[in-house]
């Protein structure tokens, strides 16, 4: 059983995800295709990588293939390309076994805790209300995450709005914030101000190499747990955060770490007794991992009511949880033409 080729087609946008995405396809000699979503900006990189490193390889060797692709990880683009290929390999491996990805990974059907993650900094309180309306209509989320505006009073008011809305359906709820990139010092002061009136569960911060000690100061400065990891491009990058005790929650993004890297990083987080949250992903593919991450806490969902994105996952929302279906592989269904057909049409 071997991978025979790679192709990409389409152009889709997803709420809360930067840029455009395309459908990546790995074909194999058994007539099946592994599919994933790949940022359009790294499409060519992913196809080159697939042809160089994956063709003629068995897609079921996912762990080994991840390491085989490792030489190209490092910058953000390379990591995104590598992750897209890893996702397609796992999709193919699960399809070859005729089972959903969560089962291939060794999980029982995901009934994952979710957190509603509002995409971007809201323009107004009304924007928060509209988003909450969409969210609450779909299911009773037990947690909500707001991107900070930089104005503590405004942020506290919006968080209270989220809390009060979600608690109409379920109580208690966890409140989280996305503090973005520019968090040291000024952000610390802002977060402490918010904490005077809001009980924050966790604060997500965007970090890079070298931020560990500053982040450790943040851990020591606020009541809420500090969540990092969303920018990791390799599981090995988690080490300084563990070692410096510079995080209380680890966020894993399968579109940077792939499934393989996320599994490894989650095991390491478990060793340090750190909870893991999964970053939102198009098609909600990340929820497949929930039952096999030993310290899984919740999966981010940006817009559960999103339609016409060009791809449909296999997730249902039941009582605030994400329940995966039985479609083989990652369960993605594309409403666009296949890459092969697109190529033919363009020719």
């Amino acid at each position: 059983m071997k991978i025979t080729g790679a192709a990409a087609a389409g152009s889709m946008a997803f709420p809360g995800q930067a840029g455009l995405w395309c459908r990546l396809e790995l074909t194999c000699d058994e007539g099946l295709a592994g599919e994933s979503l790949c940022p359009v900006r790294v499409r060519d990189q992913a196809l080159t990588l697939a042809n160089d490193r994956l063709v003629d390889r068995d897609p079921r060797a996912a762990s080994a293939l991840w390491d085989r692709l490792a030489g190209n990880a490092g910058d953000d683009s390379a990591a995104a390309a590598r992750a897209s290929l890893d996702l397609a390999c796992w999709d193919l491996a699960a399809k070859l076994r005729g089972e959903p990805l969560w089962k291939t990974l060794g999980g029982s059907r995901p009934r994952a805790m979710l957190h509603a993650a509002m995409p971007g900094v809201p323009e107004s309180d009304d924007a928060v209300r509209r988003w909450l309306g969409n969210v609450a209509e779909v299911t009773a989320f037990r947690a909500g995450c707001l991107a900070l505006s930089g104005m503590p009073a405004t942020d506290a008011r919006r968080l209270a709005l989220i809390r009060d809305t979600l608690e109409k359906q379920v109580k208690p709820v966890d409140l989280a914030v996305d503090a973005g990139r520019s968090w040291p010092d000024e952000r610390v002061r802002q977060l402490r101000e918010i904490e005077r009136s809001i009980d924050l569960s966790w604060v997500k911060v965007a970090v890079g190499p070298g931020d560990e000690l500053a982040c450790r100061r943040l851990v020591d400065s606020i009541r809420a747990a500090v969540c990092v990891g969303g920018e990791l491009t390799s599981e090995r990058g988690l080490m300084p955060w563990l070692h410096q005790r510079a995080a209380n929650v680890i966020e894993l993004d399968i579109h940077r770490l792939g499934i393989t890297g996320a599994l490894r990083a989650a095991d390491a987080a478990f060793g340090f007794e750190l909870p893991v949250v999964l970053a939102p992903a198009p098609g909600h593919v990340q929820v497949h991992l929930a039952p096999v991450l030993p310290s899984f806490m919740s999966a981010g969902i940006v817009d559960p009511a999103a339609e016409n994105t060009g791809v449909f996952g296999d997730l249902r929302f039941v009582c605030g949880r994400g329940v995966m279906g039985d479609r083989p592989g990652a369960g993605l269904v594309f409403d666009r033409i296949s890459p092969a057909a697109a190529k033919e049409r363009s020719a």
């Binding site: 390889r57 068995d58 079921r60 060797a61 996912a62 762990s63 080994a64 293939l65 390491d67 085989r68 076994r97 089972e99 089962k103 990974l105 060794g106 999980g107 029982s108 599981e235 090995r236 988690l238 080490m239 563990l242 070692h243 393989t260 599994l263 490894r264 990083a265 095991d267 390491a268 478990f270 060793g271 340090f272 007794e273 039952p291 096999v292 030993p294």
Partner: protein, 394 residues
């Protein structure tokens, strides 16, 4: 696809040769064995090998009726269940055995070898030889490592601890035996927690005056992260440890405190799922792992799928009387077969024979820690080992 039942068989096996470390220098040639069978409604059975499966009866209800392919979730379910009393002793033995049998089942149901289910590219794993050789004469020691070297194995681990002069002589014998496989064979020593940290530093430094050691195994107690770190900082060799721990939680203080350089991982580390967690934590920390020995080298399936695995211990004392398998050693590697699951079948007739006619021999496993451990070295008594010692007793 549902788990419907289980059974286990226990037996005693006589080894082809005795095995020993410095805690029981005269050694033993009898080991307890057990096989756990997990049954399904499709007639496929998963097996696990080892010992200490009696606790399964208290935990089986947690997996009964479940789909064995959901092994990682089942591991978490059992691990959560035992949290109050702890993942230790009988609970750990049962969790480990059940998890291994479920992985065997998962791979069998996919009709593929377990190494493939676990994501490895192939079923080849680098091996090193480990004689558990404290009770072997110098000639037997040479013969064992030469036999391994003839199969391409270029690393060896010697049991040491009670007589440094003799340990150094025997290290030379091991190196000579392995020299047909490599100009610079990898040399390891294992003192099985007999020394205190400072004794370890003194003895290892003396050995290092003459030998380049790849690692020193269990130079201090398994949980003594400060002592292990001290040894790691004060000797040239890497410190390897962990074989007697139970889970990733036990490894956490060692890793977080930089007390270990090579992690010895094993089936008893909460099964394949738990062992993989440890290896992944080590990988994130940039640390290598080494799989401990087991019957028919079945844990090589996991080792093949680990990104940071450096070599699996091969003891080969003859523990496979009731097993049928096709893995072998070639060019210094364990080569696993393409048979589904672990690739091991139980010879039920041979097993029944072992149960009906338990072999007799010497020693009892597990054995006690030797007097003086961590305090003073109790010299070898005359006749305690079949090799020339430098020690004298009044």
């Amino acid at each position: 696809m549902r788990i419907t039942g289980y059974r286990y068989e226990t037996y005693r096996m006589k080894l082809d040769r005795p095995i020993a470390d410095c805690n029981l220098p005269e050694g033993l040639d009898l080991l307890p064995g057990s096989v756990l069978f997990i049954e399904t409604d499709e007639g496929v059975e998963g097996i696990s090998l080892g010992f200490g499966v009696e606790g399964v009866s208290a935990l089986f209800h947690l997996i009964e009726g479940e789909d064995p392919r959901e092994v990682v979730s089942l591991w978490a379910k059992v691990n959560d269940y035992i949290h109050k009393l702890g993942n230790e002793g009988a609970a750990n033995g049962a969790l480990s055995a059940m998890d291994i049998a479920l992985w065997d089942l998962k791979a069998k149901l996919a009709e593929e070898p377990l190494w493939r289910t676990l994501g490895a590219a192939d079923g080849r794993v680098k091996a090193y030889a480990s004689g558990l050789d404290y009770c072997l004469s110098d000639e037997e020691l040479f013969a064992f490592y030469r036999r391994m070297a003839e199969r391409g194995i270029d690393g060896g681990k010697l049991k040491v601890g009670l007589d440094i002069e003799a340990d150094m002589r025997r290290l030379g014998i091991m190196r000579e035996a392995l020299s047909i496989a490599s100009d610079r064979p990898q040399l390891m020593i294992d003192s099985n927690e007999y020394w205190s940290p400072k004794q370890a530093v003194r003895f290892i430094r003396r050995i290092e005056e003459k030998f380049d050691l790849a690692w020193a195994e269990e130079p201090a107690r398994r949980w003594d992260y400060a002592g292990l770190r001290l040894v790691s900082e004060q000797v040239g060799a890497a410190v390897a440890t962990g074989e007697n721990l139970n889970s990733v939680a036990d490894f956490y203080p060692l890793i977080a405190n930089q007390a270990v350089d090579v992690l010895n991982v094993a089936a008893g580390h909460s099964g394949i799922t738990g062992c993989r967690q440890i290896a992944h934590l080590a990988h994130v920390y940039g640390l290598p792992v080494s799989m401990m020995n087991c019957q028919a080298e079945f844990m090589a399936h996991l080792a093949a799928a680990l990104p940071n695995h450096v070599g699996m211990e091969v003891v080969d004392p003859g523990r496979e009387q009731c097993l049928r398998f096709e893995s072998y050693i070639e060019d210094g590697h364990i080569v696993l077969s393409d048979k589904p699951g672990l690739g091991i079948e139980i010879d039920e007739k041979a097993l029944a024979d072992l149960q009906a006619n338990p072999p007799t021999g010497r020693g009892q496993f597990p054995f006690a820690r030797r007097e003086g451990a961590g305090r003073y070295v109790l010299p070898l008594r005359p006749g305690e080992v079949p090799w020339e010692t430098s020690s004298r007793e009044p």
